[in-house]
């Protein structure tokens, strides 16, 4: 608090605020580009499943590089707080590994490096955070989304609750040896680990230089004013929303062997546009379950915020300042609350977590006209599964999450659903694997990948259509781990919009016969077997009859909808 007091006398005008913010954004972009370009696993450098940000010494999110939304809104702040709690003395040269979902990490697969930025006088000023989803973390099964794990023990991940991995800028090799002894494809993990350390050190150096140039008090003053500015922007954005309260729910499928009954997540959302506050209550939800679908506290916060920010002006800064206008009610031992040890949070960034964002944006759609968003499609179909085995062409073992296709963008008051939305926590930020690279790096033969007609959630603004991906295995044995939903409960439409077609996974035999397979599992496929993965589309927004007629005709011409559907659902004669 000493710094804050010293900083009180410093006032930055609107130009100075813009300049210091640009400098900090430059720092996180530099971190992100270091990580993106030097990382090894496909999850990191092809799916952009990583994030970089700056947290204040008071453990508040100040500035984040553009990344998958589920990574960064909350979590880095909570992890930084646990680092401060567990390590009374932070020194220059320290770095900490964190992946503990009970202490602020999203899920154990998101290995995170925290570096406290300590100035020349030994004062902790900021924490820089680099987080990257790993291809493997040593789980008992070769997957990082272990939906069936009854608890953290069966899940089997090594858990690091802010564990020191560098001192005096030297790596503590004990920790590295623990990891390489346990993690499949250890070189790949080590490559990503070094890349994260590199990114965090890049951020540390840049912040130390900034402190030397501006003075720490000036930066402190900037932080507090920038939070106030962000809060004001948030207040204005909420002022523009309709006032009211609504409740909505979003349901995750029952999956045999994971959760025997569907999981419905409800959100009670109250928008007070006079005070500029949004209140989200998630307490009326099921308890933690004996599976890997429990959502970590960080992801509960973040996912609820994603649902809200999906309904706001996108230029509102996302940091601890704007977050002041969001109030969340959670309870302990709740599947979308504060999970307690040893409940597993293995799939906490996707499945049930996505239901939170969806419930929030569906509820907001119910508050008034022209706001909100339909339901976004589900993640982790087999076309985004974790593939592993030995490649007969090189004789080498591999474990890779592939990104051959997802869909799911939901209709909203402004535009049709984004085609590769992936899922609520992703926001469409990830890359799509090219067929050629997928076949080069895994012994696969992708027989087809295309959009399926008539699968969009119809609406004035329609959802994205689903994708068909057919994969033939070109090795004696290939394992595919995945856990999807959106089959039993396809993405809903809102405000008169319709539901999209759901997902589906099956084996296609040579004679054309289709054999359904579970929505979850570690599938063992043999040479010549064909796996078909159909991803779910996104829900529609507004009545299909209100859709712009030329947009309907374009969809017909593009083969996205049939003439029959144009007539029956949209009320448009294609040939008019």
């Amino acid at each position: 608090m000493l710094n804050r007091a010293a900083a009180i006398g410093i006032k930055l005008d609107g130009a100075k605020l813009a300049i210091v913010n640009a400098r900090l954004e430059g720092v996180v972009r530099k971190m992100a580009s270091t990580l993106l370009r030097s990382g090894r696993s496909g999850v990191l450098n092809r799916a952009r499943d990583f994030s970089c940000c700056i947290v204040t010494h008071g453990n508040e999110l100040l500035c984040a590089a553009e990344s998958l939304p589920i990574h960064v809104l909350r979590g880095p702040d909570m992890m930084a707080a646990s680092m401060v709690n567990y390590h009374s003395k932070l020194e220059a040269g320290d770095a900490f590994l964190h992946n503990c979902p009970y202490h602020g990490c999203s899920h154990p697969a998101d290995h995170t490096i925290l570096v406290p930025v300590v100035d020349g006088r030994g004062v902790h000023r900021y924490t820089v955070v680099a987080k990257a989803h790993q291809a493997d973390i040593g789980n008992s099964q070769p997957t990082t989304y272990f939906g069936a794990a009854r608890d953290v023990y069966e899940e089997g991940a090594l858990i690091f609750p802010a564990t020191r991995v560098q001192k005096n800028y030297q790596t503590i090799e004990d920790i590295v040896r623990i990891c390489t002894a346990r993690i499949r494809v250890p070189e790949q993990w080590l490559g990503d680990f070094k890349a994260m350390l590199g990114a965090a050190r890049t951020g540390e150096r840049a912040l130390l230089a900034l402190g030397a140039e501006y003075g720490w008090d000036y930066l402190e003053a900037f932080g507090s004013q920038w939070f106030d500015y962000s809060e004001a922007r948030m207040e204005q954005a909420v002022n523009a929303m309709p006032n009211g309260r609504a409740r909505a729910s979003s349901t995750h499928d029952a999956i045999s062997g994971v959760c025997e009954t569907p999981i419905t997540v409800s959100a009670d959302v109250r928008v007070d546009n006079k005070l500029g506050h949004v209140h989200i209550d998630l307490r009326d939800n099921p308890d933690c379950q004996p599976n890997g679908l429990n959502v970590s506290e960080a992801c509960v916060h973040t996912s609820a915020m994603i649902g809200l920010f999906n309904c706001l002006d996108s230029s509102v800064p996302k940091n601890a300042g704007s977050f002041r206008r969001i109030h969340l009610d959670l309870k302990e031992n709740c599947i979308v609350g504060i999970p307690t040890h040893p409940h597993s949070c293995s799939a906490a960034t996707t499945n049930v977590s996505d239901r939170i964002a969806n419930a929030v944006q569906l509820a907001i759609s119910g508050i008034g006209e022209g706001v909100g968003m339909a339901e976004i499609g589900a993640n982790l179909p087999a076309s985004r599964g974790v593939f592993s085995g030995v490649d007969p062409r090189s004789g080498k073992a591999y474990v890779n999450q592939v990104f051959l296709g997802s869909s799911g963008g939901a209709g909203n008051p402004h535009a049709d659903g984004w085609l590769h939305y992936s899922h609520a926590g992703n926001g469409g930020m990830g890359y799509l694997d090219s067929i050629e690279l997928a076949e080069l790096y895994q012994p696969l033969y992708v027989r087809g990948r295309y959009l399926i007609p008539d699968t969009e959630g119809a609406g004035e603004y329609r959802g994205a259509p689903g994708k068909y991906v057919e994969i033939e295995v070109m090795a004696d044995e290939v394992n595919v781990a995945y856990v999807t939903d959106g089959i039993q409960f396809p993405p809903q439409g809102v405000c008169g919009g319709e539901a999209a077609a759901g997902g589906r996974q099956y084996l296609k035999h040579a004679d054309g016969e289709e054999q359904e397979i579970p929505a979850h599992g570690v599938l063992r496929l043999n040479r010549g077997q064909r796996l078909v993965s159909i991803t779910s589309g996104g829900g529609g927004f507004g009545k299909p009859g209100s859709r712009n007629r030329s947009a309907v005709r374009r969809d017909v011409a593009d083969g996205r909808i049939s003439e029959q559907r144009a007539r029956d659902v949209y009320g448009v004669e294609p040939d008019d």
Partner: protein, 682 residues
């Protein structure tokens, strides 16, 4: 005598190089409806100024070099041929699906982009080749002939063909090419493996489709240009500036017009390389709307495949290598605004040239960077662009007062300074990102300011970046056209052959390298410059095992005969990786995915010529200017042409030429070099 023209969005630039190397610059408005008419017009202006007829002027010319935005404009306005795509069955949506990615996960107002070729013009060919090049499903001529009938019905004007793995085994694409040539002889065709042999089917399909779609219009445009030049009396050789930083014969461009998509901007770093021989050079070209960045490292100009037409993730990625130019929305016309929370932004929205900045008096009410510069005294209202336009300082004051000063609670002068500072910071951030991605530390680089608005804050940008030196070339306002005079005829040939350093296939690599060099020699023979110097430069695109993105590494040898040869490449890769990312991983194997040979045939000179029209010496005058940290001070106003080469001067100063104004902050020393450029040691 040689002529170089560059048709930009606003002006058509002409540079004439006489036989002694002297340069003369001319600018005329671009004729958007008939760009060639704009070229003829500026040539006529030049002839008039020399008291010659157009025929006399052109008759003495050996080479006419043309830079054009015609291909780019055709793409942006959708004025391209009706083009069909033939692709592997099961994969009809390659151009729709693209490679994923998005700019802002919360921006739901921006719609997903339409594919470059609509699905209704995409046809599936029943065939398939594996990653190893084996035929999994054989191509059947009968099916292709059925597709030919459909293509006839569709009345397509161009066709692109992109089949999966055609870079490993091109036999199916070739067979389709043959059948199309026989059955649709008048329809131009682009085969993806020939044009752009690279892995990742979207990039290949995109470049082939863009190329095919441009063929009819570019064939017509270039034919028309050449014909009208001939009619006007030109008898020499017509060359076109390519996006790869070289020149190509017009006929070569008509065969693969994607080569000229970024024709003009590619010349900025080429000119920069001729301005200085420093190891690291950053070229910043400031226009009215954009700030274009490029770099030179040890004489090399990096290329990128990720050129987006219409913006990252929402436009179309060409996938075709072109000089890496990064553009941000910051320039003289950039609009300053204060948001609802009281924070100042400058750009990316721009007033352009119509209505333009408030001070143009053409109805613009928004405050722009140009208005701020006028208010601060950096521009002379009576002598803007050599007196071609009068600027209204009262209107600039009013716009800045209303839009910026009032909401920020600052004086008009403070508000104007703030606009320049924010714009400067945005430009600096863009340079940090861009030069960083090329492994260049701005502190170890020379910054070159080009473009009409460069002088306003290039010195400020360079001080903030800590650059060693700033150079504003005397020909900086026509940088692209000047660059064209110092570059070579060049072409790149590529082969996609994935090889690991662990299992290096010497025989296949040597065979492929031999084929690449033969293609270079054939090019040298056809470019007709065998009497002059030519060279072949080899490089590879490679990555560590499991990395997704390639880096370019110069290949130190031309064939691999031993483990030592391979080790040279491995060492070069580690060094370059270290330079770019500050680490290397000696324990990891290296995968090479592409092999590149660039052939260069010398046609021009190596060093930049001097302006030959010298003006008389004038006595400097004084003007009140505002500088950050100094308040209002009297700055010396110099005519650029009146500055004595080699003599040191001290800021505050403004250096004016008919094309630009250079602002020198108080206490900063500058000189005019022997080559006529303004140089500032920071």
């Amino acid at each position: 005598m040689r002529f170089a023209t560059d048709t930009g969005g606003t002006f058509t630039d002409l540079v004439i190089e006489d036989d002694t190397g002297g340069l003369a610059l001319f600018k005329a408005p671009t004729n958007k409806l008939d760009p060639v008419a704009g070229v003829i017009r500026v040539l006529q202006d030049a002839a008039d100024s020399r008291n010659q007829s157009l025929d006399q002027l052109l008759g003495t010319g050996e080479v006419f070099i043309h830079g054009t935005t015609h291909a780019l404009n055709a793409l942006i306005t959708g004025n391209t041929a009706r083009t069909a795509l033939l692709t592997t069955a099961g994969h009809p949506d390659i151009l729709t699906l693209r490679e994923g990615g998005r700019v802002d996960p919360f921006d739901h107002a921006t719609a997903y982009p339409a594919s470059f070729i609509p699905p209704s013009l995409t046809l599936e060919v029943e065939e398939r080749i594996s990653a190893q090049g084996d035929v999994l499903t054989a191509l059947r001529d009968e099916q292709v002939l059925e597709l030919v009938e459909q293509l006839k019905q569709m009345e397509v004007e161009a066709i692109s063909v992109c089949l999966l793995w055609s870079v490993v085994n091109p036999q199916h694409e070739r067979q389709i090419g043959k059948l199309l040539a026989r059955h649709l002889p008048d329809v131009p065709v682009t085969l993806s493996h020939e044009l752009n042999p690279v892995l990742r089917e979207y990039r290949r399909a995109s470049s082939a489709s863009i190329d095919a779609a441009l063929k009819p219009t570019m064939t017509h445009y270039l034919g028309n240009l050449e014909q009208r030049l001939r009619e006007a009396g030109f008898k020499g050789r017509v060359l076109v500036i390519s996006s790869q930083g070289g020149l190509l014969d017009a006929s070569e461009v008509a065969g693969a017009p994607i080569h000229v998509l970024n024709s003009g901007p590619s010349m900025a770093p080429v000119a920069g390389r001729a301005v200085t021989s420093d190891r690291n050079v950053i070229v910043a070209d400031t226009g009215g709307t954009t700030y274009d960045l490029s770099v030179v490292h040890e004489g090399q100009i990096p290329l990128s495949r990720e050129l987006w037409i219409g913006g990252p993730f929402v436009g179309h990625m060409t996938g075709f290598p072109s000089v890496d130019v990064k553009s941000i929305g910051s320039g003289g016309g950039s609009i300053a605004r204060v948001d609802e929370g009281g924070v100042l932004h400058v750009g990316p929205q721009s007033q352009g040239s119509d209505p333009g900045p408030a001070c143009y008096g053409k109805g613009g009410e928004e405050a722009t960077l140009t208005d701020a510069s006028l208010v601060l005294g950096y521009l002379d209202p009576g002598n803007f662009l050599g007196g071609k336009m009068h600027l209204d300082r009262k209107l600039a004051n009013q716009a800045i007062g209303d839009c910026i000063a009032k909401p920020l609670g600052l004086s008009i002068a403070e508000a104007a300074l703030s606009i320049v500072e924010v714009a400067t910071e945005d430009m600096c951030q863009a340079i940090f990102d861009f030069s960083g991605s090329h492994g260049i530390d701005p502190e170890e680089a020379v910054l070159i300011g080009a473009g009409g608005a460069a002088g306003l804050n290039t010195v400020a940008v360079s001080r903030r970046l800590g650059c060693r030196k700033v150079i504003i070339p005397e020909v900086g306002a026509t940088m692209s056209a000047v660059g064209a005079l110092v570059t070579d005829i060049s072409r790149e040939f590529r082969a996609a052959l994935m090889v690991s350093s662990e299992r290096f296939d010497y025989e296949a690599v040597n065979r492929m390298l031999l084929d690449l060099s033969e293609r270079c020699w054939r090019f040298i023979a056809s470019a007709g410059s065998s009497d002059r110097e030519s060279r072949i430069i080899l490089s590879v695109e490679a990555h560590y095992e499991n990395q997704a993105w390639d880096i370019v590494v110069p290949l130190p040898i031309s064939s691999f005969n031993s483990a030592q040869d391979l080790q040279q490449l491995i060492d070069a890769f580690h060094r370059e990786h270290y330079r770019l990312f500050a680490y290397s991983d000696e324990g990891s194997s290296i995968e090479i995915s592409n092999w590149v040979s660039r052939v260069e045939c010398v046609v021009g000179s190596d060093c930049m010529g001097r302006l030959s029209d010298r003006e008389i010496v004038e006595i400097p005058s004084l003007r009140n200017c505002m500088f950050s940290g100094h308040g209002e001070v009297q700055a010396s106003i110099y005519r650029w042409s009146a500055l004595k080469p080699g003599q040191h001067y001290l800021g505050p100063a403004i250096i004016e030429s008919p094309f630009t104004s250079v602002v020198i902050d108080p206490g900063i020393e500058f000189l005019r070099s022997d080559s006529g450029n303004v140089e500032v040691q920071c």
